[in-house]
C-alpha cells in the first residue's frame, strides 16, 4: 500500500462489523473514503491489507491497515481522542467494556445466522440461545441510557449494528425482541436518535432481503 495520507475503509454495505467502524468514525467526525468490496471477488487491496483473514472491515490509515472491527474501533478511539470518547477511563470499566463487546462478537452473529439457516429443532435451540443472549445483555444494560452509561460507548458501538438484524431474527424464528428484552428494544430506538447510527445502519427490511438472498444461496427453504 502506498503511504497515502488519509483514512480509507474497506467494507460491505450490510456488514454489522463494518458498521461499527463507520459509526465510530462518524462519532469522531473523521473524514474517510468508503470502498465497497465485492465479497465474491475481493479486491487486490483487500487481500493485501488483510492477508490473514481476507475479510472486511479493514481501516487503512496513512497506508497502514488495521483489521478486526473491535480492534479498529479501539484504534479510532485512541487516535481521534479529542472527542466522543468511546472507552471508559477506569481499568475495571474498560475490562468490562471489552468483555461484553467480545461476548457480542462471539455470540450474536453466529447465533443469528443459525436462526435463518436452520429449521425445526435446531432452529428452536438457536432461538432459545438468542433469547438468552438478549436477556444477558439486557441485564448488563439495566436502566442505563446506554451500555456506556450516560454516554454512547464501546459496547453500544459493538452491538447497535445488530439491531437492524432484529427484524430478520424475529421473522425467521418467530419471536419478538421487545417481548423478550424490552430494555434492549428501547435502547435500540434511543441509539437510532444518534445521527452516526441513523445514517449508518441498514434498513431492517433491506437486511431481511439480504438474508432471504443468503437463504436462497445456501439452499435453505
Amino acid at each position: 500500500m502506498a503511504s497515502e495520507k488519509g483514512v480509507m475503509l474497506l467494507d460491505f454495505w450490510v456488514s454489522p462489523f463494518g458498521q461499527r467502524a463507520r459509526i465510530a468514525l462518524a462519532e469522531k467526525g473523521v473524514q474517510y473514503e468508503y470502498k465497497e468490496e465485492n465479497l465474491t471477488e475481493k479486491s487486490e487491496l483487500l487481500l493485501k491489507a488483510n492477508p490473514v483473514h481476507k475479510k472486511i472491515p479493514v481501516l487503512i490509515h496513512d497506508g497502514k491497515p488495521v483489521c478486526e472491527s473491535l480492534i479498529i474501533v479501539e484504534y479510532i478511539d485512541e487516535v481521534w481522542s479529542d472527542k466522543a470518547t468511546l472507552m471508559p477511563s477506569a481499568p475495571y470499566q474498560r475490562a468490562q467494556a471489552r468483555f461484553w463487546a467480545d461476548f457480542i462478537d462471539k455470540k450474536v452473529y453466529d447465533c443469528g445466522s443459525r436462526l435463518w439457516k436452520l429449521k425445526g429443532e435446531e432452529q428452536q435451540t438457536a432461538k432459545k440461545e438468542m433469547i438468552d443472549i438478549l436477556q444477558l445483555l439486557e441485564a448488563q444494560l439495566g436502566d442505563k441510557k446506554y451500555f456506556g452509561g450516560d454516554s454512547f460507548g464501546f459496547v453500544d458501538v459493538a452491538f447497535v449494528p445488530f439491531t437492524s438484524w432484529f427484524y430478520s431474527y424475529e421473522t425467521c424464528a418467530n419471536f419478538s425482541v421487545e417481548g423478550v428484552a424490552p430494555k434492549i428494544a428501547q435502547w435500540a430506538k434511543r441509539c437510532m436518535e444518534r445521527e452516526s447510527v441513523a445514517k449508518t445502519l441498514s434498513d431492517p427490511k433491506k437486511v431481511y432481503e439480504f438474508v432471504c438472498f443468503l437463504k436462497k444461496k445456501f439452499g435453505v427453504e
Binding site: 492477508p51 490473514v52 483473514h53 490509515h61 497502514k64 488495521v66 483489521c67 478486526e68 480492534i71 479498529i72 479501539e74 484504534y75 485512541e78 487516535v79 481499568p91 475495571y92 474498560r94 475490562a95 471489552r98 468483555f99 467480545d102 461476548f103 444477558l136
Partner: protein, 222 residues
C-alpha cells in the same frame, strides 16, 4: 514484589492452559504478588463459577474482590492497573497490530494438530502464511515487543512450546531455522528467558497431555 496496601490478587487457573500462562507471564513481568488457585476443570469450584458465570472458564483474575475473565482482557487490565514495567506499545497502530496477532497467531495450529489429509493441508497452508507474516514482524527486533518481552510476545508465547510439541507428535516440522530464522530465534529466546523458563510446566508433562488429546481425537476418527 509490588503489593500496595490492601491489594489482593488471585488467579484461578489450570496448569496446562496457554491462556493461563499468558496471565502468569504478565503478572511476573509486572512483579505482582498473587495467590494462585489450581482448578479441577472436571469439577469447577463454586468460586470460579461465581467469578465467571458467563463462560465458567479459566483464567480468571480477581483483584480486590472484582473478577476479570478472558486472558487478553486480563492482560490489558494488568497493564492499566499496574503502571510500572509496561507490556503494551505506546503507539496506537502498534497496539492494533499486537492485538490482532494476539488472537490470529494461533489460527489453524490446532486444526493442523488434530486433523488429517486435506483438512490438515489447508490448516497447514494457513499456519505457514501466518508464520511468514509473523517472521516479518520480527525484523530488526529481538522480541515482538522490541527489546523486551511484552504483550505481543506473551499473547503468542504458547507457540514457543506448543509448536515443538505438535511437531514432535505429528512428526512434521513447521518452524525450521532455514524457513523461519527469526521466528526460530524468537522461540529460543522466549523459552529460555528467565520469565518463561521458571514458569512453564515441565515440557514432558505438557507433551504428555497434548499427546493424550491427540490420540483420543485420532481414535474417534478411526
Amino acid at each position: 514484589m509490588e503489593e500496595a496496601k490492601g491489594e489482593e490478587v488471585t488467579l484461578f487457573g489450570f496448569w496446562s492452559s496457554p491462556f493461563v500462562h499468558r496471565v502468569i507471564w504478565a503478572l511476573n513481568i509486572k512483579k505482582i504478588k498473587y495467590k494462585y488457585v489450581e482448578e479441577d476443570l472436571s469439577n469447577k469450584s463454586a468460586l470460579l463459577l461465581e467469578h465467571n458465570p458467563v463462560y465458567k472458564k479459566v483464567p480468571v483474575l480477581v483483584y480486590n474482590g472484582i473478577a476479570i475473565a478472558e486472558s487478553l482482557i486480563i492482560l490489558e487490565f494488568i497493564e492499566e492497573t499496574w503502571k510500572e514495567n509496561s507490556i503494551m506499545p505506546q503507539d496506537p497502530y502498534e497496539k492494533a497490530v499486537a492485538r490482532f496477532w494476539a488472537t490470529a497467531a494461533g489460527d489453524g495450529l490446532w486444526q493442523f494438530f488434530i486433523t488429517e489429509g486435506k483438512e490438515r493441508e489447508e490448516a497447514l497452508t494457513s499456519v505457514i502464511n501466518n508464520f511468514e507474516l509473523l517472521e516479518k514482524e520480527l525484523i530488526g527486533k529481538n522480541f515482538f515487543g522490541g527489546d523486551r518481552i511484552g504483550y505481543f510476545d506473551i499473547s503468542v508465547g504458547w507457540i514457543s512450546y506448543g509448536v515443538p510439541i505438535f511437531e514432535e507428535i505429528t512428526e512434521f516440522k513447521i518452524i525450521t531455522e532455514q524457513k523461519f530464522p527469526l521466528l526460530h530465534a524468537w522461540m529460543e529466546a522466549f523459552s529460555n528467558s528467565e520469565l518463561v523458563r521458571d514458569t512453564l510446566p515441565l515440557r514432558e508433562k505438557l507433551s504428555e497431555r497434548y499427546r493424550k488429546v491427540w490420540e483420543a481425537t485420532m481414535q474417534k476418527k478411526n
